[in-house]
Symmetry: D2
Subunit: 251 residues, 4 copies
């Protein structure tokens, strides 16, 4: 194994920020949601190299070159999913299947890239009343839950609830509860192609969730988990190998 530092690109549509809506953004996230997320990763993942990219950048900041140098891509989108170019979605999907990690956050459940990779509608129930979210760990031995108290509480959050139309995850790590009786599978992993995907729902433009110490810890754990040091990126492809003995070491 190779312990090269992880290179993380935090992508954000950056629309709430640029439109000042909600007004609390300026105070909660002076550097944008992407800024807060990148800062959490930079602080908590030793050696992490972070950069950010936004919708309005050329190619949304996700050129072939950027993706080739990204070990883990984090994705935050909400009101502008439809503005993400299909060509960029194709490129991101190709990189994930080839081995890039992907951490999809909150309203990113409805991003083109997650829908593409999971194959379902990714629909859910929601209601935004700023109520308490209690986050329970159900896979206590999973590295993404390392060091996380069980449960922890986010004082104010948008409610995301079941039914959440996603495939049964490879690993269900967190389940959240909301005061009016809703529950949500809030932390889940999926291996797809050669890549690792982590979806984590807590996080919203209206509440300072990305400053919560446990949320930050989980973002960092998720990045570490999704990172495959030393992996040579290659999209899985059809092969038509000759018959014959395999070489002794598979070389």
């Amino acid at each position: 194994m190779n312990d090269a530092p992880v290179r993380v690109t935090v992508w954000n549509e950056n629309v709430h920020e640029s439109t000042g809506n909600p007004p609390s953004m300026a105070q909660d996230y002076p550097d944008g949601l992407h800024g807060a997320i990148a800062q959490a990763v930079a602080e908590l993942v030793p050696g992490a190299q972070t950069r950010t990219a936004v919708l309005s950048d050329p190619e949304h900041g996700l050129s072939e070159e950027v993706l080739a140098q990204t070990d883990v891509l984090m994705w935050w989108g909400h009101v502008a999913h439809g503005d993400v170019a299909d060509e960029v979605v194709d490129r991101v999907q190709r990189h994930v299947l080839a081995g890039m990690g992907l951490v999809v956050l909150h309203s990113g459940h409805f991003s083109k890239i997650l829908i593409r990779l999971l194959g379902t509608t990714c629909s859910l129930a929601w209601r935004n009343e700023g109520k308490r979210e209690v986050v329970w760990t159900v896979a206590t031995a999973h590295p993404i839950a390392a060091g996380v108290p069980n449960p922890f509480v986010i004082e104010q959050q948008e409610m995301y609830g079941e039914p959440f139309d996603v495939p049964a995850p490879d690993e269900l790590i967190f389940i959240s509860a909301f005061p009016d009786g809703e529950v949500f599978r809030s932390g889940m992993t999926y291996l797809r192609g050669r890549g690792r995907i982590f979806y984590f729902s807590p996080g919203d433009q209206e509440y300072p969730v990305y400053h919560h110490p446990q949320v930050r810890r989980i973002l960092a754990n998720g990045v570490r988990w999704a990172h495959q040091p030393g992996l040579e990126r290659a999209v899985p492809a059809v092969t038509n190998p000759a018959t014959g003995p395999f070489s002794p070491s598979g070389d």
Copy 2:
């Protein structure tokens, strides 16, 4: 496939009933918890043949002969887990691994048989205040959820909460929410050996939960799911087969 009617044995420790504790048992469950459960199955599973067995029966009512004629065993226990003879647990485990279905209910999470089959402590958090349980379906395409509204509500229940120390299930079907912020994986399946196991948590000696129409429906669906018509029961065993061509149809 064979559509032979399912033969169901409902096992109950029958201690709450025989000791009249809580006093509400006599009114809620005049025929015992096992009686109510068996009645739900008999009514809702076409052709089902039900019988009951209790702790105080010889061999707890679970002789070799009874198990050999049982397609699906349902299990309710609470205060007397320790009184179940290891020899009977061995026998039930052997039948499950050989193909008998097992539906474990509520406080049966702590039964010797479930702990034996799952290998973990099966511990959980609990608090009995008779509050509302909201049951969400998260595997909407699963046969055990067929016809069940999403969610449905049980007005009064004991709280069972995470962390629930069980293996990640083969299929997670239901998640329950309680008003003070707890959640629980309340419906789960496990294939073990040749047998099928369904754990379902709603149900308690203090509340008339087994008369709830959705709970009854789920019990019936669970029995149908766990039943393997026409299966010849055989415990998996080590084999040391000769080298040689397999016969064309595997006979």
Copy 3:
């Protein structure tokens, strides 16, 4: 539960048949691959109502009306995946997510519909030398394996081998072995949306695999497993429910 008979539509691109390539098709499959598959289902699933549809039909024979009356769609394609209209793929995906069963066969691993629903490349290794496939059951308690000898042998088959770029299945049922050392996850299930998907690899245009008694049995078991009697079809959708107490029975 409802025991209404299952309505099955067998879709085949029907190109090998219409072009007489390979020439053995005429003898092995005088009614086409779809004909042989439909016959297996009609014979082995009590009450099944089968119909067939092919690429050259208007809307490929998969109009909204046909899909609305199809409980389980079976899919065989190979050389003409690219000729399937995206609009039809959209429609089929919508119906699967809304609750229609889907059984994808052999080279259908590379169909637009499976790639769409799974989100990966679905690539694999292959080599066609007409060698022996040994099919092992690894989920002995699964209904799709009911009555199937373990293992069974197909005397002549195309080799499909790992790495098979699909998500880890919800349930892995069969693993196949080929004489030169390849293995393949040959029977897998996926729940997606409200629908059930079964992929089964044995079956090829060059060999009479769909006349093999165990393959036919598995096709029938797969149809029964994928069928959800009485289900009202509905695509999962975002909801924004009001706060408030849930009604007692979830109505």
Copy 4:
């Protein structure tokens, strides 16, 4: 996260070694199977601290103190499973459920500890003719497969074949093929309690398998995967918490 070095205890029954059976042991494994395994870990896991323990040691070398200082326990047993004291098995199980990693090797499939933790018979088919095993990776993005060629070949091995009576794993990583048509799920992970379990089948007393570079790499990857740095060990236990608001950070 904490990057403390992993402390590994390699347990071996040490019976083949002490009885000189087979005679090839002296040449293949001059330091015993445990010696070869410990050496692989020491070489390939940076900072690993290894020790060994054998059946004939007091308490089989697995005292409370040793286990408390063991992050990952590796287990090799074959002819003496029955001689392992139940009291020691209880202790190991307790430590695994409390967070210790466990790597079970080859014929350890039939160890008391694995059967206890998995709840099934763990039976399989076997035949020892020293033939070729081809090991395929089916979870290409899993850390235990990192750097492993797909496939790799072990020139001489005992055949272990399906049906392997274990629960469907949390993650299926490797599938092996043998020349006469058998297949085997040869690398699988299970989370149980707070602990992580990896079963890996290649490895036998008659063949120098533990000197194979890819097998050694997988042992090292498995140890790294099973290690939870900084985890405070605690067996999951029933709790009966008071009603009340959770504290903001779950403390």
